[in-house]
């Protein structure tokens, strides 16, 4: 890739945008998964304690 070529800025913008959108979405999904699974485990544990 020739970064000095005409319109190279459009190419960099396209790859940068793809990285930001897909990276951001991946981070959001992974963090949501971690948070919800931890909350479900905690609630499950609390219910177990209450019943016991």
């Amino acid at each position: 890739m020739d970064f000095a070529a005409a319109h190279a800025g459009f190419v960099i913008a396209a790859y940068g945008l793809s990285l930001v959108v897909l990276g951001g979405l991946s981070a959001h999904i992974l963090l949501r998964d971690r948070r919800l699974r931890a909350a479900a485990r905690r609630l499950d544990g609390e219910r177990g304690d209450t019943r016991a």
Binding site: F10, A14, L17, L25, S26, L36
Partner: protein, 242 residues
């Protein structure tokens, strides 16, 4: 493995947890190879120059936008016909991923269109039908967000997903059915691809990388949605016990 076997969320989660490390590894490997092909080994186009490299992120995003909507429609049909307990989860969690790919297809297409066509946007058949697909994704997600009662939200969302599926072949064949500024299909053609091999392989590898990225993220998002539903059930049970 039957669909009924995976209807059990525990079995599904066991399978997803076992598959995810391999899917992430495949995604990372394919992305590295694909980006090497896209940015280093493939030649510039004789007419478009370096701008052609936008193709390697634009085209896979557009493929995925159509593929993910098809997954959503298929899952919605499975929910409606077979009452598969995970089908709504699959459809609901696929939508934000499809919307992201659709947004990327539109945005990177715009970044490719400006230097090549001289315009960021034209109301051409392919671009307009792709824009409609974006609106369908947003509408589908809005239904899940707006309707509080989950069964009613699921029913309305299934119908919207299935009715909206009619737009998928319209996007695909728009360049054949109408005069379009957008170029016709050059990979999935009856007479074979018309792209030179040094450009074709990075495009296909990037397509595979995006597919495995979707599969990985979809499984994680489904796992999170199953946890969210479990939390809701526990909270409802607790209210009932009081």
């Amino acid at each position: 493995m039957t669909m009924q076997y995976l209807a059990n969320p525990t079995r599904f989660l066991r399978l997803a947890n076992a598959l995810l490390p391999y899917l992430w590894a495949l995604t990372a490997g394919l992305l590295v190879i694909g980006l090497y092909g896209a940015l280093v080994s493939s030649p510039p186009d004789y007419q478009q120059g370096e701008t052609v490299r936008i193709m390697y992120v634009h085209v896979p995003a557009a493929w995925m936008a159509l593929f993910v909507y098809s997954v959503m429609a298929l899952a919605s049909a499975a929910a409606l016909i077979f009452r598969h307990p995970l089908a709504d989860v699959a459809a609901k969690t696929a939508a934000p991923l499809g919307a992201a790919f659709c947004f990327l297809a539109l945005a990177t297409g715009s970044l490719w269109g400006k230097p090549m066509w001289g315009a960021w946007w034209v109301w051409d058949a392919r671009l307009t039908s792709m824009f409609v697909l974006m609106l369908l994704y947003l509408g589908y997600m809005a239904i899940w967000a707006a309707i509080e009662e989950p069964h009613r939200a699921a029913m309305v969302a299934r119908i919207v997903a299935l009715v909206g599926f009619i737009n998928v072949p319209i996007v695909k064949f728009s360049v054949d059915w109408w005069n379009s500024l957008h170029q016709p299909a050059s990979v999935f053609r009856m007479d074979g691809p018309t792209i030179a091999a040094p450009m074709l392989w990075p495009l296909l590898v990037m397509g595979l990388a995006y597919t495995f990225l979707f599969l990985s993220l979809h499984l994680v998002a489904m796992r999170a949605e199953i946890a969210a539903r479990k939390i809701r059930q526990i909270q409802i049970a607790e209210i009932g016990e009081r």
